[in-house]
Amino acid sequence: MRSFTALRMLLHDRSSTAGSLLGVVAIVFLVGQQLSILFGLLNFMSVLVDHSGADAWILSSQITNVDAANLIPSSYLERTIGLPEIQWAEPILFGNGLFKKKDGSFESVRVIGVRRPYLAGGPWAFVSSDNRSLLDVDSVTVDRLDLPKLGSPSIGDITEIGSTRVIIGAITDDARGFQGTLVFGNLEKVRQISKIPPGRYSAILVKFKKGVDPKQCIDKLRVILPRASVYSTAELSQLTRTYYIINTGIGGSFGFSTVISILIGVVIITLTMYSSVLNRERDFAVMRALGARRRDIIVVVISQALIISIIGIILGFLFLAILFNAVRGTSMPHYYPKIVPPIHAGITIIVSLLGSLVALRKALKSEPASVFH
């Protein structure tokens, strides 16, 4: 009956209930939207690492992120590939160049060179053609979301990157990076574009054989290659993300926005629930006079906060789903991992309960003796 009374009070006090709901929806929607952009950007930061298909990466020593790797000698590849635990080891090159558009202007691009025929570390999703196009020495891929920036080239178009002739061989689907437009090509072409000397690579991607202990293999590689950095793919991804979060201010910026969103929600919930309890002060006093203990009043107010937070969470997630659906396929970064919604919902419930504390304090102050005045 206490929870039922709480529900009936909420249904009756529509304006304050709507206000509290708005607070919860604001928390869920604004924080969810901020988080989805943050996770989307995080994905961009480590996109090459996460989609490499490798178990480990070998890079120059003391790197802070995958994009800051200095060139390493090709001898590292030969020493790696000879190990019995290694299924394959493939080099990759990162460089920069200017993409020549149809109108003669240029756009700066990040070029990634992968070795034929494995094409390890190459693009992973396509809207036109596929990976095999990179088997052609002049072929490069561009992303559909970057097409307008690059002058809307089509498959088969011939252009230049860094004064080197290339052919648009395939169009990728959302294979985009944090450091700008990604263009994939084969190793030789990228070496030519970026003027990287022969016998040098940006990194070596390593795949271990099934059944071997990755940690042991990585330790072994660190012993064999003492002047290189050897990381598991997960470690390198985390290292890169952490670097960008700290050094670009993204972490602070999104953290601040998230905290502000939560604070706005808490203030709205606090004010509306307080005003609702203020209007119901006499009712709580009546309930106390009728025999309600303090804990019974707590149950009523907490039930109200829980009902509001659960409905608010459902509405907030519904609005988020609509937003995610609307931005799907656009250049706006968004990613909302499956593990996040339960945590997000749990935090929202806690925040709603915190927002109801002031109201609860007021409700508990309702004096049963006041009914006789």
Binding site: M1, R293, F372
Partner: protein
Amino acid sequence: MSTILLEKVARDFTDGETIRRVLFPIDLEIYPRELTVLSGPSGSGKTTLISIIGLVLRASEGRVIIMDKDVTNLSDDESASMRLKLYGFVFQQPMLIEGLNILENVILSLAVQGKKIQNSEKQKAMQLLKILGLEDYINMQPRLLSGGQKQRVSIARALIKDPPIILCDEPTSALDAQSGQVVLDILKRIAVEDKKAVVVVSHDSRVFPFADRLIKLEDGIIVSDTQEEYTN
């Protein structure tokens, strides 16, 4: 045997640094089957007295014994449970909870500590509302009822628990003459037929003819305690 026994009960209030005595030591026994009226001018202490009797206010001095149990020093929760078990309240304003319909307002009195309502209790509430002439209003919101109807709902809310003590604070002051008469008839019947101790605080002279006992307070002191001559 008395239902309510007050021994040297007094009450002080603090105004900043000064202590003001609003109720001087009072000895009082209230019996079942009687409608006892507490009367007196504003500030006479009658509200304080009924609040102490109703366990919503603590006495500063003295002992309060309800149904042979000393309840003077009960905790807040224990007092609440005593109120739930032993008391029915009818306030000056009906104080029904908006959002709950009439039937729910009545059964709230049973379930305010979270008890699950049995079907038989719901039937009893409907029966009570029927006796009080409110059977057509059970699903209505309180705001749609007249003042007299609301007060009858609050009487049903007080009676649903079948408590031995009914405390009423100015139950007729907000009602017209006819509604007031109906409410007083009901309260009198409850006292006499249901063998309950009914205490009514009122300075409305229309109430006096219904009293089995009239206690007058002035400046925190009982100045008269009379029986029979006011009996209807």
